[in-house]
């Protein structure tokens, strides 16, 4: 449907389609860009995780690659002092609000945060920011899975899966600011909500927030 074009990412010339989002063009060509919130099928990315920054020649500010459409001849850098600084801060901010216990975590070794840390040489255990204490209740009401909000990075993958794939609408974002959470209508435990326990959301979660009970606690 879209015209194939050539763009340059980090000195590699790659083929991409005009109009597709830069993030996917890069990932499809094995060029890693940190990302948590982007969804390929979604027309307009929520652009909420703020990790997929790149620099594009001719644009003075760093841009999020999940919102930027590919244009012919684009010259892109996924790393630069500015990008690295922003990504590091964004990543550390997320971790300042994260219950980091990888060894006990069902997502250990498949976790998107671990992957970003590894690819970008970042530390999961950040020291710049004070840890934000939370007292979230574990929701282990569903038969096969559970929801640990203290590992949630608010990427919205589960909400999309629930709405657009399962077509249920059991979960969504509520509350503002620092209190923003993913939850059910009236904060009911999942088992008491309209959730059908189809588990599409569990499969979508890039970290250990929604997880299968038979894996690990």
């Amino acid at each position: 449907m879209n015209k194939p074009v050539k763009i340059i990412i980090d000195d590699h010339e790659i083929e991409a389609f005009a109009g597709e989002k830069l993030l996917w063009a890069a990932l499809d060509n094995d060029i890693f860009i940190p990302h948590l919130c982007a969804i390929r099928e979604e027309k307009r990315s929520g652009a909420s995780c703020r990790l997929c920054f790149v620099e594009i020649e001719g644009i003075s500010q760093p841009v999020t690659s999940c919102t930027k459409s590919v244009e012919d001849g684009m010259v892109v850098k996924t790393r630069s002092p500015r990008i690295d600084r922003l990504v590091k801060t964004g990543f550390e901010l997320l971790l300042s609000d994260h219950d980091l216990k990888c060894r006990e975590c069902p997502a250990n070794r498949s976790c998107a945060l671990q992957k970003i840390a590894k690819e970008r040489g970042l530390k999961l255990r950040q020291k710049r920011f004070k840890h934000i204490e939370r007292d979230y209740q574990l929701d282990d009401s569903p038969k096969e899975f559970a929801f640990n909000r203290s590992r949630c990075v608010l990427c919205g993958q589960c909400v999309w899966a629930d709405r657009e794939e399962a077509k249920i609408g059991a979960i969504g974002f509520t509350r503002r600011g620092i209190k923003r959470v993913v939850t059910t209508f009236e904060d009911l435990p999942l088992a008491e909500s309209i959730c059908t326990e189809c588990k599409l959301c569990v499969d979508a979660c890039p970290v250990g927030a929604l997880y299968y009970k038979d894996l690990k606690k």
């Binding site: 929520g46 909420s48 004070k130 600011g177």
Partner: protein, 636 residues
């Protein structure tokens, strides 16, 4: 031809209005300022007092509600217009003064000039507002009618040539309106200063069958109230501007997004819309032409972020009021997915003037790149608070010292905060910066929506930065990482600093984080939230350092870094006032008869300091909170 039709209709409307308004205006009238600030100062009671007194004395005079007269420091206020006299404005009204004015001026022929603030028309007897030092700098365009027209009567607007711009535009082509606005380089007054004409053109070329015009009256900045005042005082001006925009871009439906906390504005605008419909100025064939356009009010739920363009549209569509990444811009894909124009209240308010008087006239006001006027709500440590309108290019110094009449109580100027929580704090050295979009931006502040807070030596810049950040952090929608978590950590760091905790590294972390939140956030709330922090760090770095290095708050504001102390040589020993004023019974009488504060019990409420009679003035604040050595010796 439809064109000349509109002008004929207009002259009919004008004659009708004149016939109705002139007899009203030819008898004595009392215009009471009942915009929100007047009402909170008791204007409705004053209005009743006038009505009662006039009735009791059986005088022939009308009492009319008008909007903001612009001298909010002197509320409640009223203008008395009596044939044979220039209209005179009186401030600081109370029941006694009302009685007197009714008796002496309306009943007799004595305007009681000793109580007057100013006359509103040039005359031989009494000075006008323009004769005030501030008059030299002020230039009222969009505030021109505020406070002088009967806000509940469309005819009061029409006799002041209201809707003549619309009639003129309808006689010509839509493209002429667009060209005029483009040529005038009218820049958006909602904060960023984006040229309205370019936006309108993009919308026109948006290539859809339907388009919308929306007026952004969400005005959520603490301390800002000019949009509210304009809607409350001169709603038809904004409505006419919106109709002109709709005509230019071919829209048939528009909305005013007004926050629900502005009930008077909502009511006045709704009345104005109804009256405009009755007169055929809104609806299916405006002024008997084929142009159809109608307006409705959408009441916003109040979150500050809903003023952001994409969040505003989401909230109008019934979704959560949260921002989206752009592009697409509203002008190509806005409300209901259709090309949409969103402009600020003030932006629309300039439009009728530009159409009537022309782009060249408009460009003759203000600066080359920021033509027109700037409207500010001047608040804080300044003598004359209120709404002011000055040509762009006026300097901050002129605005504060001439228009605002300087700082009260002989205090020293410290900073001026411009643009609300998204703006910056500028120091003395920046006072000669001209007020225009680009110069302010360069200095680190923004025009913003026009809040201007003056601060003096008693304001702590760390506490000021914290105050504004507290607001934005609280208003963050929480969608994106930098703003949700970054503003929280910034606020925590600032809180630590106000408690004297931290070191040089804390300050560099704060700066780094602030820069990253600015560069990394999704919408302008997060992108601009660091401005108060970054500018205070830049201009008042020493004040930050005093907090962490010496545990001292130079302005004596941060509670944890001060203590209250009774200076023995000054204490009268006998007055005892402080003892009774203390809510925690922290003040006791020593063996030698002097009073002393038990620091363990003191909750730093400042009651005693205020209570201590001025002739002694014995109680002081001390920072850092260490007791003077002479005192320590005695307690041991």
């Amino acid at each position: 031809m439809s064109g000349s039709g509109s002008e004929k209709i207009y002259s009919k409307l004008y004659e009708q209005a004149k016939a109705k308004v002139e007899p009203k205006e030819s008898k004595a009238r009392v215009l009471v300022g009942t915009a929100t600030c007047g009402v909170s100062a008791g204007a409705l009671k004053i209005k009743e007092d006038f009505e009662r007194e006039i009735k009791e004395k059986d005088l022939d005079a009308d009492v009319v509600e008008v909007g903001c007269i612009g001298h909010c420091y002197a509320e409640p206020m009223a203008v008395i217009a009596k044939p044979g006299f220039p209209p005179v404005c009186y401030g600081y009204l109370d029941e006694g003064l009302v009685h007197r004015l009714v008796e002496d001026f309306l009943g007799g022929d004595d305007p009681s000039y000793e109580y007057a603030l100013a006359a509103l028309e040039r005359n031989d007897v009494f000075p006008t507002f323009e004769d005030f030092p501030r008059g030299v700098y002020e230039q009222k365009l969009i505030l021109e009618n505020c406070g002088f027209i009967d806000v509940r009567d469309i005819e009061s607007y029409i006799v002041r040539e209201g809707y003549s711009a619309l009639s003129k535009a309808l006689a010509g082509k839509p493209a002429e309106v667009l060209e005029e606005i483009k040529a005038a380089n009218l820049r958006g007054r909602g904060g960023a200063g984006f040229p309205a004409g370019i936006k309108w053109e993009a919308c026109l070329n948006g290539g859809a069958d339907e388009r919308y015009v929306i007026c952004n009256a969400d005005e959520g900045d603490p301390g800002a109230f000019m949009d509210r005042s304009i809607l409350e005082s001169d709603p038809h001006l904004v409505i006419e501007g919106m109709i002109l925009c709709a005509y230019a871009i071919g829209a048939h439906k528009g909305y005013l997004y007004i926050r629900a906390e502005y009930p008077r504005a909502v009511r006045h605008v709704q009345e104005a819309i109804n009256q405009a419909r009755e007169k055929g100025l809104l609806g299916s064939s405006i002024m008997d032409t084929e142009f159809a356009f109608d307006l409705d009010i959408f009441q916003g739920s109040g979150a500050f972020v809903c003023g952001e363009a994409t969040a505003l549209v989401n909230s109008m569509e019934g979704k959560m009021g949260m921002p989206e990444s752009r592009p697409p811009r509203l002008a190509s894909k806005g409300f209901r997915g259709k090309p949409t124009i969103l402009n600020n209240v003030k932006t629309f308010a300039y439009v009728p003037f530009i159409i009537n008087r022309g782009a060249d006239w408009f460009k003759g006001i203000g600066t080359d790149h920021s033509p027109g006027t700037a409207v500010f709500s001047l608040v804080g440590k300044v003598a004359n608070t209120g709404l002011v309108e000055v040509p762009m290019g006026t300097t901050l110094r002129q605005l504060i010292y001439e228009v605002g009449d300087g700082l009260p109580n002989e205090k020293e100027f410290k900073a001026v905060q411009i643009g609300g929580p998204s703006g910056g704090c500028l120091p003395e050295s920046a006072l000669d910066v001209p007020i225009d979009f680009d110069s302010l931006h360069e200095a680190g502040a923004i025009m913003g929506s026009g809040g201007l807070v003056v601060m003096d030596e008693d304001d702590c810049m760390v506490a000021v930065a914290r105050y504004f950040l507290e607001f934005t952090q609280h208003e963050s929608c929480g969608k994106c990482t930098f703003c949700r978590l970054g503003t929280k950590h910034m606020l925590d760091i600032l809180n630590d600093i106000t408690m004297g905790e931290g070191d040089e590294e804390t300050l560099s972390l704060l700066k780094e984080l602030a820069e990253d939140v600015r560069d990394g956030s999704l919408c302008n709330l997060g992108k601009t939230a660091p401005n108060p922090v970054l500018t205070t760090l830049e201009y008042f770095y020493d004040e930050y350092r005093a907090h962490i290095e010496e545990g001292r708050c130079p302005a004596l504001v941060c509670r944890n870094l001060i203590l209250y102390y009774i200076e023995p040589p000054k204490c009268s020993k006998l007055c005892n006032v402080c003892v009774g004023s203390c809510p925690t019974e922290a003040i006791f009488t020593r063996d030698d008869g002097l009073k002393e504060i038990d620091q363990e019990k003191c909750v730093k409420c400042a009651n005693c300091l205020k209570a201590c009679p001025p002739e002694y003035n014995a109680i002081v604040k001390i920072s850092p909170p260490v007791l003077p050595p002479e005192k320590e010796k005695k307690t041991k």
